[in-house]
Amino acid sequence: MIKIPQNIYDDIIAHAKKGFPLEVCGILGGLDGVVSEIYPMTNTDASNEHFMMDPREQFTVVKDLRAKGLEMSVIYHSHPETPARPSEEDIRLALTPNVSYIIVSLAEPNNPVLRSFKISGNQVEPEAVEIL
């Protein structure tokens, strides 16, 4: 289970909506499955169908989390027009170990759907999300 404070949950949804129709992406930091930080990231692909984070921003976030005694908990991105489930490309590029992968779907603009998954190799397991 991943636990997300309401304000960070709201920030993720707002980020996805603000970036629409492009995919947005970001990192959540925390400890022991409880999120406490959000880092909206640049989608260098600037695409409706793909995302790729900027490595410089990634290193900055990792160092900031380390300085705070936190860890990378979640990698999130949006699916502007498709469901909140990992695509083949999402699974292939889920390379970072020991994180949750959150997808926000805006397929129904008035009803955003946020789901979390654990992805390892080709194995995808849905994960419960608790809003704090």
Binding site: M41, E49, F51, P55, E89
Partner: protein, 70 residues
């Protein structure tokens, strides 16, 4: 050779010169073709992994590409 890798001390027990490709191998990094490496604060071009040598006291950071699609 003593390095700092992803913020932690790491000792590499090799006497010969070590390039970035060999370092990732020593560190048993899975799927190194998807890794970005920063050496002493500078992100390295992948084409330079073979020619870039690490030295005692260097600080190395690496992380995986973070991407996907729908």
């Amino acid at each position: 050779m003593n390095l700092t890798v992803n913020g932690k001390p790491a000792t590499i027990d090799r006497k010969e010169t070590l390039n970035i490709t060999a370092l990732l191998d020593e560190l048993k990094v899975a799927q190194p073709e998807y890794v970005t490496v920063e050496l002493n604060g500078e992100i390295l071009e992948r084409d330079n992994f073979e020619s870039t040598v690490v030295r005692n006291g260097d600080t190395v950071e690496f992380l995986y590409f973070m991407g996907g699609g729908n």
